[in-house]
């Protein structure tokens, strides 16, 4: 690393500080996007992941619960339980529902489940107890924090008043959060007793899920039966379909902004030192010297910005999570390394963009 690159950058401290801050901000943005994606990815499917069901039975053509609708009847459950190898078939009913508290209204992914089995209920409680009666509700912790719900509070769903009895985790799907009531309460809210979304099937130990799934399909017809892992992947894919284009778009904008900032600074530095560079060419600077000088500047900026970004990122994430509890950011060392590597790659790209200017600097300019 040449001292000259450091000196060039240090000669304009304010500009350098602004550039490093701008680049650091872009890196933080990318880190945050990926961390949020992790959080959303985990939160969106954690309910399914932690569910003990071996098989998920849904209406034909339904393949996920995040953005799909499935309607089955109580009779389906009775038939499923008669299939060989089935230990239990627990119904759940999922519906989007408006929750009112005082004058505030928010939407939740209301999940009706049978309290006596607990299957399909909150995967983990962080406070309070699970739903035991029809007039009780468990809310997602992030949702409760956002709307300042406390245990014991009353909420209204349509014309039903429910008491908050617990808070759950692993139930924050970023754009919406799960809430849990009894199946009977959920059915009463829909107005169709006996209506369910899907059945969560447990099978006997030693039984092959695939063969049980095939048997359920044979017996019922008009249903989809998914093994646990396959259903999990279906939902992950659905979540990614909705989220990844947005994520990639914002990440791409961040990368473009980063490239633009770096290229601009490097180009300005080249223009300001046009005469110096012409002198260096006259004095016999090797052909790679000036491009290397530009690249070193880019690397120095990105390295400084990367360090600044890491210093800022974690406290900033905590702050954002406090201000917006529904946002869960989870970083991995691999993703941080990938973002920093991407920033390094962008520094190389920016260097190449700026280097075009070097070609138009002629040694003769030293004599002008």
């Amino acid at each position: 690393m040449d001292l000259y690159a450091v000196r060039i950058l240090r000669s304009q401290p304010l500009r350098l500080a602004l550039t490093i801050s701008g680049v650091a901000l872009c890196i933080v943005l990318m880190l945050f996007l990926f961390a949020t994606y992790n959080g959303v990815a985990k939160g969106s499917v954690e309910y399914i992941q932690k569910n003990p069901a071996d098989l998920w039975v849904l209406q034909r053509n339904a393949w996920n619960i995040l953005r799909g609708s499935s309607l089955l009847s109580a009779e389906h459950g009775e038939i499923i339980e008669t299939v060989s190898g089935v230990e239990s078939a627990s119904p759940i009913l999922l519906l989007l529902s408006a929750v009112e508290k005082d004058s505030e209204v928010a939407t939740v992914f209301l999940t009706g489940f049978e309290p006596k089995t607990g299957v399909g209920g909150p995967p983990q409680l962080v406070d309070g107890v699970s739903v035991g009666n029809d007039d009780e509700i468990v809310l997602d912790r992030a949702f409760a924090a956002k709307f300042n719900f406390k245990i014991g509070d009353q909420v209204r769903i349509q014309d039903h008043t429910l008491k908050v009895v617990g808070f759950s985790t692993g139930t924050n799907a970023f754009v919406i959060q799960y809430a849990f009531v009894t199946l009977r309460q959920a059915q009463s809210l829909v107005g169709f007793p006996g209506l369910v979304t899907c059945y969560l099937v447990r099978i006997h130990k030693g039984t092959q899920p695939r063969s049980v799934a095939a048997a359920i399909r044979d017996r019922l017809g008009g249903v989809e039966v998914y093994e646990h892992e396959q259903f999990l992947q279906n939902n992950i894919r659905e979540m990614q379909t909705g989220l990844l284009p947005f994520l990639y778009t914002v990440a791409a904008i961040g990368a473009i902004v980063l490239t633009a900032i770096l290229s601009l600074l490097l180009s300005i530095n080249i223009l300001e030192r046009r005469k110096d560079f012409a002198i260096l060419k006259t004095l016999g600077a090797p052909s790679g010297f000036l491009p290397r000088l530009v690249m070193e500047q880019a690397f120095l900026i990105v390295a400084a910005a990367g360090i600044l970004a890491l210093i800022v990122f974690f406290p900033l994430t905590s702050l954002i999570e406090k201000l917006a509890p529904e946002i869960t950011a989870q970083s991995s060392a691999g993703q941080i390394a990938a973002v920093l590597a991407a920033a390094a790659a962008i520094s190389v790209l920016s260097s190449f963009i700026s280097m075009q200017r070097l070609r138009r600097i002629y040694p003769l300019e030293a004599f002008s």
């Binding site: 000259y4 110096d276 016999g284 004599f367």
Partner: protein, 278 residues
């Protein structure tokens, strides 16, 4: 053109013309110039502003190619060198002194000198060591860690000369080296360049309109409107200035070598004023 080089010449210009601009706006910066110089010679290009001195220097340095004619540097036509070879020649075999010194402001004096040593292939550590030694030799070691913008004009030019001579180049090109200096400082710079030419037997070409330098030159070439109008060997019995400059260590200077204009060109082209001998 039947061209035969004088192998003793550091460079030769044979019927060199340089035209700038496009049709309708052409400027002939240099017109049919013939010139050559040998080791140990200090050649002065004298002429007013716009006479083509700087263009001629840049042609001699191989920084641009002539519109017509031949520029031969170190025995080879400049057209035959690759850009990489020309870069190597500039790094190792040509030293430059500029009118406004043109030190790199972001680097210390020592780093400025070390940079050209590195361009010539020295390792960073060796370059730093040698730069220190050179600055000591030039009596400006105390300026080593200073940045150019903190130096006086004279100090800047001494640093610039140290940089130019760092690689002991076979050819030194100095463009108006005294123009920004007071008399004493200008005298010192020319004295150093002359001593370098004589003690190290290197070729120094100085472009200037400063008549005070004339007395130091082995040969004075007058340029007007891009043409060499007069070439004069400095054979007068005027007392030669002292050339044993302590800044340039090396062999004891002998009597300045005097060149005549007939020695400088081996071209057979009739337009060349120096072409008569072959």
């Amino acid at each position: 053109m039947n061209l035969k080089h004088d192998p003793s010449h550091v460079f030769e210009l044979v019927n060199v013309t340089k035209v700038f601009g496009a049709d309708g706006h052409k400027t002939q910066a240099v017109q049919e110039v013939c010139l050559g110089a040998s080791p140990g010679e200090l050649v002065l290009l004298l002429g007013p502003s716009g006479s083509g001195k700087t263009t001629l220097l840049t042609l001699i340095a191989g920084l641009m190619k002539p519109t017509s004619g031949s520029v031969i540097i170190f025995g080879k036509n400049v057209e035959e060198y690759s850009s990489g070879e020309l870069q190597q020649i500039r790094a190792k075999r040509i030293g430059f002194v500029f009118q406004t010194f043109l030190l790199i402001d972001s680097l210390t004096v020592s780093e400025n000198v070390a940079l050209v040593l590195r361009f010539a292939g020295e390792s960073p550590a060796d370059a730093r060591r040698r730069a220190r030694r050179l600055l000591r030799q030039f009596g400006i070691e105390h300026l080593a860690q200073k940045f150019p913008d903190t130096l006086s004009q004279g100090e800047k030019q001494r640093a610039a000369v140290a940089r130019a001579l760092a690689n002991e180049p076979a050819l030194v090109i100095a463009d108006e080296p005294t123009a920004s200096l007071e008399s004493k400082q200008g005298f010192d710079v020319i004295q150093t360049l002359l001593a370098y030419a004589k003690q190290k037997r290197r070729c120094v070409v100085v472009a200037s309109h400063d008549l005070r330098i004339v007395q130091f030159a082995d040969r004075v070439l007058r340029l007007e409107d891009g043409r060499l109008v007069h070439s004069e060997a400095n054979v007068s019995d005027r007392p030669r200035p002292l050339v044993n400059d302590p800044m340039v260590a090396g062999e004891t200077p002998g009597k300045p070598r005097v060149t005549t204009r007939q020695e400088s060109c081996r071209s057979s082209t009739p337009q060349c004023p120096l072409a008569s001998i072959r």
